[in-house]
């Protein structure tokens, strides 16, 4: 009987812990973000998908990592040399993002072109409190991140 009473006493604490855990998502959340600028000198419309997590990588349609967060899918990044900007939130303390670039050929959805993992973002912008990343796709499809 005493054991049952002990159990009943401790149950509220248990549920409080679970609530705190769910509220704070396991901890490690950050308010930092990433300003991502896309320069598309490629010949056809592109789509860009950005993921944060620890670590993140693309394998045959799957994105693998912990604390995964899909921040956005940008469509029709088409204008040559235009600044296609996006802001994403870093969901952990690793300061890394996965950029997946696909083609939008108008049939059967988006097809994979390439992906880049950007680790250890270090170009912090004090004015926006965000890290800065430029993803440039040249005419051959080569991707440069800086």
């Amino acid at each position: 009987m005493n054991k049952l009473k002990s159990l009943i006493k401790i149950l509220p604490s248990f549920f409080l812990l679970l609530l705190l855990n769910s509220c704070f998502g396991g901890g490690g959340a950050s308010n930092s973000g990433v300003d991502v600028k896309f320069l598309n000198n490629f010949t056809i419309p592109l789509v860009v998908e950005i993921w944060t997590g620890i670590p993140v990588r693309y394998v045959n349609g799957e994105v693998r990592g912990d604390k995964l967060k899909n921040n956005l899918v940008l469509q029709n990044v088409t204008n040559i040399g235009a600044d296609n900007k996006a802001v994403v939130t870093i969901s952990d303390d690793t300061r890394s993002v996965l950029v997946i670039i696909g083609t939008d050929e108008g049939v059967n959805g988006y097809w994979y072109l390439t992906d880049e993992v950007i680790n250890n973002l270090d170009t912090y912008n004090n004015a926006t409190n965000n890290y800065m990343v430029t993803v440039e796709i040249d005419a051959s499809g080569s991707v440069t991140v800086y």
């Binding site: 679970l18 097809w111 051959s140």
Partner: protein, 180 residues
Amino acid sequence: MLTFKNALILILLFVFFWSCESNEPGVEYSQIKPRPPLVPNSTTIRLKQPLHLGIVTRNTPFDFTFNSRAVHHASLLIFTAEPSANNRGLKDVTGICLGGATSMISSHAWDNTSLHWDATAGLSDVYVCDGANRLEPLSTSTKVAFDVSLTAGTYYWAVLGYNKYYKITHSSALYTLTVN
């Protein structure tokens, strides 16, 4: 002494920290799908550069890059036209094969990761398809003469992987390459 209450607290703490680590999935699905391999029911070989729909300049050397380390033998083939739907097993590439290289011919340079295309034929790693053997179309000695073979236009390329019995088990997607 470990009382029942203390044991219960320890168990609950364990459950809490375990849930912290496992409450977010390790795998999600991208909306951007991988291109299917050229040969149906084969395992995908990843191509890196030039990207699908990429553009190269005729007189500028470049490298085809890929990863075929997982297979016994591999070939890179450049086509002048898409293999037809009923030839996706690539049983016969006569008439559409421009050139390439393979690990199955000892005179070819093959490192499973890159193949150099050069405006100077002597510096290139790409050999012509001479049609001598419809299953193994590549010449053992004649390289692609750049000015003759690679005119401006659209080409296609893929990497094929073979098992030790020379059966295709792996293939890449078919990438389009524009030469200007």
